[in-house]
Amino acid sequence: MVSTGEPAVKLRNVAKRYVDIVAVDYIDLDVKHGEILGLLGPNGSGKSTTLKIILGLIKPDSGSVNVLGINAEDDPVAVKRQVGYVPETPRLYEFLTGLEYLDFVGDIYGITVSEKKARIEEYLEALELEEREGDMISSYSQGMKQKTALISVFLHKPKLLLLDEPLSGLDPRSARIVKDLLRELKSQGVTTILSTHILEIAQAMCDRIAIMYEGRLLALGNMKELRQKARLPGSDLEDIFLKLTGTEDVREVVEALLK
């Protein structure tokens, strides 16, 4: 049971190391129920590893992971039942049709036949995939594959969404639908952790933003708190991000390239 006031996701002292690379460096993180948390950071900063640790896909070397009141290490299957996850590059079964894939995922999560049918048809229509639902996924464009992966996580009405670059490859209409859908789900109490490199999306959609760098959690808070931390009043997320991650020398790099 999830107790009132208990965060949806609670990481304490979580660390993960791959031989000579520190992927996650002893981080603490609380994500509230019904919150959209943006997880930002340069490539290799540990965002995807953190998402996988939360889902129970990767066992941390140390620390504790509590997801929706369940210890992810003790019962990862129970966590997975409540969570919807889209990886950065979702590989789908290319020999199945879009419809067959969604039907398969629906069965995996034990959705009843009538519910499955209704939800699949709704989502296919909303994301304009219904014309190609009977075609093999191998013939889909990157955007269509991304739409299929996204639909598959919404099917079982998860309480927590872990989305790694969810809008990558989507056309503007579909991207807008997904964004509105995430906001609507937030109002229904669904928690979302969104990893992205598109800072405008993070700024517009997320209640709070966590910035990771070299496995560490550099900053966590809403835009106002981040501006205070970066001492950049009135600036946008891009400037804050570049300052906090120590990569604000962009202008110099561009000038050097143009020489």
Binding site: Y93, K117, E121
Partner: protein, 559 residues
């Protein structure tokens, strides 16, 4: 034609083999010595064969025997171009069949300034890299060495040129076949609509069966000798077929007909150029052709309640089994799982039907029947068990992120292995019984044996397939680690012998297999019963191991 571009493209093709060979991707260092080991080995072997044959020829003192030897060697020279053509055709076609399963196939980089002539030439030459080129080196070095002893250096030089031209001719033909096959498949998809999946599956099976029947017929002991004899004789009869013109060049040269030698040489060159021109034109037209999407269903979506659910499988387990069924009937690289059982029944069947080897004696008949009834199902169980987890490929992330338990995973995968192997066993068994017509008790005993072998070996290989799964997909799905395959294939062989040993004892005690001592008789029923008990114990133990491996596998989702 920019020859440097051609060489660069061939070099890319050679480098594509790095991933297939499973070399490390980080801090990669080229070891060129291994690249040339095959060719160096072929050259040394050819030289050794040449020296050996030459020494035998020199050692023969009887003039009549020397003449016979000399004439024999000359006629072999004459048939070499056609033989090399056939073998190069088979080897390059095999190469193309293997490439069908490669995910990251070599697409022509059409946005670069490379012409279709350059691309076609590079592709044609690259087809020959590997065993076809090694065979050419072997033949050429052997011919060159032997010719020194025979004093036939001009004929040997011409033969080597003819061999190279034959190999190029074969490779160009394969290139044309490759392009046409891609276009034909596209046309089939378009015209057959929903049935395209099954047309492709059955078409692949028929192609493989025909290919292997021809291959075995040619390569069997008597078949290959017959082939050489028939090539040497038939060349003269079918002189109008352009593919034998290179052989005709040599035949005319040996007979001292220099005008004919020149005519056939020019005609051969012209034919190769025409064929290459056709390949270029086809590549220009269809080189970037993408087969249309296969539309499997259209219309109202009606989820199935499912027959598997009635058998006691949960919706998750049934969904995985249905998905696996689609994988094995739709994924081209997985269709190869059917080749091994096919090969196992093809050879005995061809022997029964008199296509391969000599007539079947009564003692061998029982053995051949046992192979047809026992081996396909058991082989299928081993192969499926080993690859059933690794075939998930990189899509395995869904398994890791889904609420699937170790018990559920093993149950559905094991059930799939058993059901699929049963189907293969039944199909092959019926064919075997119809062809060999054994007594009912023998047929029933062998079918029971086959069933228990499937249960036992399926469990062994599934445990191994979970432990040794390899989800690498590019450029070729690996599915299982080679060491796991080697170790568990041997284990399966040992266990299969242990399970089958009561029937062997029955055969010995009944006198079907002669031994010097007399043993008390074991009835067929008792032998089958003991065998089944052994098999069920093996199945139980290895099913538990598979469960343990699955538990570890789902916890170590390092993706």
């Amino acid at each position: 034609m920019n020859w440097k571009n051609v060489l660069r493209l061939i070099s890319v093709d050679i480098k594509a083999g790095r991933l297939i060979r499973g070399q490390r991707l980080r801090r990669y260092r080229e070891r060129k010595i291994f690249q040339y080991l095959l060719y160096g080995g072929a050259c040394i072997l050819g030289l050794a064969i040449g020296i050996g044959v030459g020494s035998v020829y020199t050692g023969v003192t009887d003039q009549a025997l020397r003449d016979l030897f000399y004439q024999g060697a000359r006629s072999l020279f004459l048939s070499f171009p056609s033989l090399v053509l056939i073998f190069s055709l088979v080897l390059t076609m095999m190469g193309q069949i293997q490439r069908m399963g490669v995910r990251a196939s070599l697409q022509p980089p059409y946005w670069l300034p490379i012409t279709w002539e350059e691309h076609t030439l590079a592709s044609t030459l690259a087809n020959l890299i590997g065993f076809p080129l090694a065979s050419l080196i072997l033949f050429s070095s052997a011919i060159a060495t032997v010719s020194i002893y025979l004093g036939e250096a001009p004929l040997a030089t011409l033969t080597i040129f003819a061999l190279l031209a034959s190999a190029f001719l074969a490779s160009t033909t394969t290139e044309i076949f490759r392009i046409l096959q891609a276009r034909l498949i596209g046309a089939v998809y378009k015209s057959t609509g929903k049935a395209a999946v099954w047309v492709r599956f059955l078409g692949s099976m028929v192609f493989l069966v025909v290919f292997y029947v021809v291959w075995f017929a040619f390569t069997s002991g008597t078949g290959s000798i017959a082939l050489i004899e028939s090539v040497a004789g038939a060349q003269q009869t079918v002189w109008f077929v352009p593919y034998v013109w290179l052989g005709m060049v040599l035949a005319a040269f040996v007979s001292g007909l220099f005008v004919q030698t020149l005519i056939f040489s020019l005609a051969s060159i012209l034919f190769i150029l025409v064929l290459f021109y056709v390949a270029v034109k086809l590549n220009t037209r269809f080189g970037l052709y993408e087969p249309p999407a296969i539309t499997v269903s259209r219309g109202v979506y009606a989820p199935k309640v499912g027959f598997l659910g009635k058998l006691g499988f949960s919706s998750l387990e049934a969904a995985v089994m249905r998905k696996d069924f689609k994988a094995f009937t739709r994924r081209r690289e997985l269709m190869y799982v059917f080749i091994t059982p096919l090969v196992f029944i093809l050879i005995p069947l061809m022997q029964y039907l008199g296509i391969y080897g000599g007539p079947v004696p009564p003692e061998a008949s029982r053995f051949l029947l046992a192979i047809i009834l026992l081996v396909p199902g058991a082989t299928m169980a081993i192969m499926l068990g080993l690859m059933i987890i690794g075939e998930e490929g990189e899509s395995v992330w869904l398994f890791f992120s889904s609420p699937i338990t170790a018990r559920g995973l093993v149950k559905c995968k094991y059930a799939f292995v058993i059901i699929f192997s049963f189907v293969v066993m039944l199909v092959c068994g019926v064919i075997g019984i119809l062809v060999a017509r054994p007594s009912p008790d023998i047929a029933i005993a062998l079918l029971i044996e086959s069933i228990v072998l499937i249960f036992a070996l399926g469990a062994v290989s599934l445990g191994a397939g979970i432990k040794g799964a390899d989800f690498t997909e590019a450029p070729r799905p690996r599915m299982v680690r080679p060491l796991t395959v080697l170790v568990y294939m041997l284990l399966c062989l040992v266990l299969a012998l242990a399970i089958f040993s009561p029937l062997l004892l029955h055969a010995i005690t009944m006198g079907y297999i002669p031994v010097p001592v007399t043993l008390p008789k074991i009835s067929l029923t008792v032998a089958v019963f003991i065998s089944a008990v052994v098999a069920l114990v093996v199945a139980f133990v290895f099913y538990r191991i598979a469960l343990k491996n699955a538990g570890e596998f789902l916890l170590k989702a390092e993706i």
